[in-house]
Symmetry: C2
Subunit: 365 residues, 2 copies
């Protein structure tokens, strides 16, 4: 109910998905009086939608903490509840991100060993799968080296189960590949992820830069939620500016308008490739259950893309596989962290760090 | 000497500038044997270039600290020395950024009151001037609220003197405009910049997001160098991906190739608008003297754009005006910080913060 385009867009979106995919069924949460007429208009949805009456609506302006206290009657609450009880396999929402994340954490609970859940977003890229996974896209504004390791594990698992990337390549977002650049927690995370890559079945490519987000050097890019959110919005803003300028360039003269007619299918193909609506869906990772956050402004195409992603994740038993992967890795990681935190023998620790980076000086840089 | 395309591109670039601008003259630093034949080939440079013989070259792989110790004979060192002694008004370099920044700080020294110098970069935008100023683009990986205030002051001064924006609009980069988001140092910086905006002659628009970097909501965007560098590289990477996909789309069929011929001038116009070579030049702010850092891969067009920017800054007496502005504001700011740091009366401090943000709860958020 809380998306910018209201429930009509949501119903149109699930109708699109229902037409394409005969194996999908929906629990639709919101005021029955509003939803029933919308569903009845769509033939594709006949017999495949169960409405869960919920009067309350979480708006984009609601503060997350208020939602938790006052919106137990909301469609968002009801949708998460259906995942919690196991009735639904995945929840899709295009409502208020902050509220959805807080409600998800409180109601679904974090996986054992996860301190900060993350939002994994898809980034159009030169990869064979057509995009990279980046996390955290803004669930939390901070992340220490343990969180960044968990993001690497969860992102790799997501790429494997959601998109069939057998051995994902993981990179850590930094300001430069030179050893002397970057924050100290980056160096710690770099070592920690490198140590865990083999056991967790991914390739660690080391530090990557912002320019690698759309590249084919990696499949998964790990960063804190502050940096990730700025990068995400920057990429969206840049793409949108170029799109506007392109339209203006083609509207400039009679000749260019003619050219744009001829180029119509080419431009359509390009716009399909980078259309954010077609890669719509941030996935909340690190919870007992899967939540797909669709863009707030998603139209029917966008909703349908988010539903498609949700279906793929449900089919691959992603939630269970991720939980198992995190459980195994958390044990491994805490073994190594216990060792790393052991200050009884700082020389040994120094030596370990030096041998990992190949340069003892980096520690102080 | 240290650019990716070597000294021939630099000489070609300054020749371009010399042709357009009769008021410009050059001190060219590097091995005389290499430079003299290159200069002699260019008619436009006759009588306008003085070569300063310097044998050493700083490479892109040199670590900044090593450069400081071992490269006193380098062209980079010699170029900065000519600014330090006042022979040159502005230094332009397309060499190793880290080394150039460190050498600049050590040789030119920071302005009194500046703790972290910054690199200001230009960002194509919907503004009437065609771009926004963003800083820090990567001089330092951290910034506290005092640094961010100084970035605001310096960025506003740069926009005013470099690009004739009379009363620049300044924004602080954050993950969201909602009060409950963002890091705690962001809230402190938000208050501090708001308090100083009027005295420093700029409009403070508050928090902005990554999507505002190419927007016309602001003229100057302030952030720490880690976030700024990731955003910069992300924007460049996204623009470059779209450019590649656009070329591929037009090469796809006979019809689309024909369309691209017809659209040639339109696409040329667009590419000129967002061509990074035409807005080439990060400016080091906060030093005794102005240094323009051109892109390492700059060709003649890029070098010429950087020289044009350097010329504009020299003409407007930017260095002197910036120093005066920082000196005045540093006094103001330290007055207010002294007050803010005074914990004898925390109630009064609380009340002050509340009245600024309109919400006392934000302090703990």
């Amino acid at each position: 109910m809380g998306g910018d385009q209201g429930p009509a867009a949501v119903v149109a979106g699930i109708a699109l998905s229902a037409e394409i995919n005969p194996d999908i069924a929906f629990l639709l949460h919101g005021p029955r009086d509003t939803l029933e007429p919308l569903v009845e208009q769509r033939k594709a949805l006949a017999g495949r939608v169960e409405i869960r009456d919920a009067e309350g609506v979480v708006s984009m302006d609601d503060k997350p903490a208020d939602v938790l206290r006052k919106r137990k009657d909301s469609s968002m609450w009801s949708a998460l509840e259906s995942v919690r009880t196991g009735e639904a396999t995945v929840c899709v929402s295009c409502g208020n991100t902050g509220a959805l994340m807080l409600l998800s954490v409180v109601r679904l609970k974090k996986l054992p060993g996860i301190y900060r859940p993350a939002i994994a977003v898809l980034w159009p890229s030169r990869n064979s799968q057509g995009f990279n996974v980046m996390l955290d896209g803004g669930a939390d504004i901070k992340a220490d080296e343990r969180d960044l390791l968990q993001y690497a594990l969860m992102g790799a698992s997501y790429a494997r189960n959601g998109f069939n990337v057998r051995r994902p390549r993981v990179g850590l977002l930094n300001v430069g590949t030179e050893e002397f650049k970057g924050r100290s927690e980056m160096k710690a995370a770099n070592d920690l992820i490198a140590q865990n890559a083999n056991a967790a079945d991914f390739d660690y490519v080391g530090f990557v830069e912002g320019s690698d987000l759309p590249s084919d050097r990696v499949d998964v890019i790990v960063t804190d939620g502050f940096t990730g959110n700025v990068a995400l919005k920057t990429g969206e803003g840049t793409a949108s500016l170029i799109g506007q300028l392109l339209r203006e360039a083609f509207a400039h003269s009679l000749l260019s308008r003619l050219a744009s007619l001829l180029a119509y299918t080419s431009l359509k193909r390009l716009s399909k490739r980078i259309d954010p609506r077609r890669q719509n869906g941030g996935v909340f990772l690190g919870l007992n259950g899967t939540v797909v956050k669709s863009h707030g402004s998603a139209d029917a195409t966008g909703i349908s893309a988010a539903v498609k992603l949700a279906f793929q994740l449900a089919q691959s038993n992603f939630s269970e596989k991720l939980a198992a992967r995190v459980a195994a890795a958390t044990m491994l990681a805490s073994d190594e962290l216990d060792h790393g935190d052991d200050d009884k023998d700082p020389q040994a620790k120094d030596a370990e760090t030096s041998s990992n980076t190949g340069n003892g000086r980096d520690k102080s840089a």
